[in-house]
């Protein structure tokens, strides 16, 4: 065996554990679900799958709950740019020498290394309508009938959006901090000498310089939000009255509550196509605003 071949083989051996894991747990189930979306297979029914063509997709567009889940999934995209913007501003502030700088960095980043489910339950307590601290505060400032948050179909989605916005800030901040510390100070110094204000520095110098980071956070943020499942499911299970049912919860319920694997696969692949479209649009659009 030549040296080159041996090197290649060693390379494959090194990536094998991860590659095998990915194939068993991701690639094979994904291909399997691709096949299933054209069938009517019901898990644990003793029946083999029957080919039904595009019936699952026809059923999907007629399904009111699917339409609700599409709307809700689009809504959960809103926290992504907001948390990126807030993460950026906090990172800029904490990049300068401030009082308790390191403590504040840890404070903002804490939600990222804490279990998502634990955070969800903290939010559940914060938003508790009767005894929760948020409503207690609102009552103390004169709001006589504060929102019911997760307990009302009218406000549950807003509570989810607030939770997701707050949850994203810490991670975005830490990534921006890394970008800011890599940034050359020469351009900033030059702009300052030319009389640029802080706002102009932010808008015209800093933000364009960290635009590749912003692009990365937008791509991963949108994908993460569309796939988002755990925290919402832990608190509301998609309720009350389906008001927080997003794509992933809709697909999960179809698959694992009702065992409708064919239909659930069709929903999952639709979710994949939407993520793909949004990502492609972002890739195309980035040429206009991302500066490398």
């Amino acid at each position: 065996m030549s040296w080159m071949k041996r090197q290649r083989l060693i390379g494959y051996v090194f990536i094998a554990p991860n590659l095998i894991g990915m194939m068993v747990f991701m690639l094979v189930p994904a291909l399997f679900s691709f096949y299933l979306m054209f069938t009517d297979w019901v898990f644990a029914s003793g029946q083999s799958p029957h080919f039904v063509g595009l019936d699952n997709f026809r059923m999907m567009v007629r399904d009111d709950l699917f339409v609700v889940s599409v709307k809700n999934t689009l809504l959960v995209l809103i926290p992504v740019p907001i948390s990126i913007m807030l993460g950026f501003l906090i990172a800029v502030m904490l990049n300068n020498r401030t009082y308790l700088q390191k403590t504040l960095r840890a404070f903002f980043f804490a939600p990222y290394f804490t279990s998502g489910i634990a955070i969800a339950f903290v939010w559940m307590v914060l938003f508790q309508p009767t005894n929760g601290p948020i409503n207690a505060f609102l009552r103390s400032i004169g709001v006589s009938d504060p929102p019911l948050w997760f307990a009302s179909p009218d406000t549950a989605m807003y509570a989810v959006l607030i939770m997701m916005t707050a949850g994203g800030i810490g991670y975005n901040m830490i990534i921006y901090l890394a970008a800011l510390q890599e940034m050359s100070s020469e351009q900033l110094e030059a702009a300052k000498m030319d009389g640029a204000t802080f706002g102009q520095l932010l808008r015209l110098i800093i933000f364009p310089l960290v635009s590749p980071t912003t692009f990365f956070l937008m791509i991963t943020g949108f994908i993460g939000s569309i796939k988002g499942f755990g925290m919402i499911y832990a608190i509301t299970q998609g309720g009350p009255g389906n008001s927080t049912t997003v794509f992933s919860i809709f697909a999960y319920k179809k698959a694992f509550n009702f065992y409708e694997m064919g239909y659930a696969s069709a929903v999952s692949w639709t979710m994949f196509l939407i993520i793909l479209c949004i990502t492609v649009i972002q890739w195309v659009g980035q040429k206009k605003w991302v500066h490398y």
């Binding site: 189930p29 399997f32 898990f43 029914s45 003793g46 083999s48 508790q128 009350p240 009255g241 319920k253």
Partner: protein, 443 residues
Amino acid sequence: MRNRRWMIAGLALLVAVPLALAGCGAKGGNQTGGTSPEASTASSDPIKLTLWGAVPSENGPQEVVDNWNKQNPDIQVEYVRFVNDDAGNLKLDTALISSQPVDMYVNYDFSLYEKRIKAGNALDLSKFSDYNVDDKMGEGAALWKVDDKYYGLPTQKGLSFVWLNKDMLDAKGLPIPTEWGLDEFRDYAAQLKSDKVWGLAQSDYYFNVPINGSLQKQSLQLTKADGTSAFDNPLTVKTLQVYFDMMFTDKSLMPHTEQITSKPALDQMFVKGETAMLFSTNQIFRTTNNVQEFPRTFKVAAAPAPKVNKDQSDYINAGGLGDVISINPSTKHQEAAWKFIQWYADGGMLPMAAGGRVPSSKDFPVDEAVALMFKGVEDTYDLDSIKRVMFGDLPLGLSRLDRKTGTEQQAVYDKAFTQKLTPEEAAKELARIHNDNLKALSK
């Protein structure tokens, strides 16, 4: 045919492998992956059986299998617990189709039981002629027949009833109800509530108990004579209106959506005196009997589940026979499993009584079960009312409402109790969902 089998097995494996590797597995193993006759026990190794059930092992099942294992060294049983929720049932169903070690399992829900039968995962018990199920378990057992056959043995009376804080009732001069409707139920809750005490707490989505109980006599599928949904009727509307008034007019019941998002531990609310009444099942015994961990100073009494109207003659009490034990047809030891199940039903399940399980077999030593149920805590119960409810002769029912309808109807209750739908609109919506699923099932 052969290809089809391979395809089913392959599909099952593809779904099962990640789940199994993710920690769904259990120890041991006895399955062959296909139906096989009783294996020879020529070797001296004992037969090993695995029983899957949802009761925590420390609440009786472990003692049951320990007792059996001592008496039957040739047949050793291991208990595996699954949680009786969607994820837990998925785990059991995955284990059943992927030939993981499940020799026997307990069904708690008719819809899932029927699904497992149709999937070929429950053995037809008519092959065993040494046990007359109807004779032993009474007429309530027949509700578990599918195509006129038993695929599992119902072993306990599973009732829903109202737990009462008798001291609070006494303080208000209220007698323990022996028969009541929702109007009286509401009145009790309103009188018993105070600043820090709810008049009533109830398990999530228990509104369907009086609603379904009013429909079961005409059809276990809760349909009308023409086969369409029976949900849209004045009794449904009244039930929704009464519960709505309890939540928002009387404020004697925690608002429903607040309960499902706050997820309070209802059993602990009851023993701590934070609610005067609790509408739930006999599973609350696990908490009320555990006076070391949950000390209480009041006496517990019981009242039957309320009808919609007190004078309603066609009401079927919520609950019937339950804990239906099935045998996995692919076990190598069907005879041994059947032997265990008979022993369990006729006496072996005695340790489960402490957790409130009332055996349904007529051969069961009921006095022993009652003695064990209240051992050491007799003085903390109003035994007359408890016995009247748990061992009385209320008509038993078993809803055969399909699981999907039941789950989808939860969103209607959410909307009804957040004023998104009026009771009349909600009743119509319950019927619409039911009709849609009836149509889908008939295809």
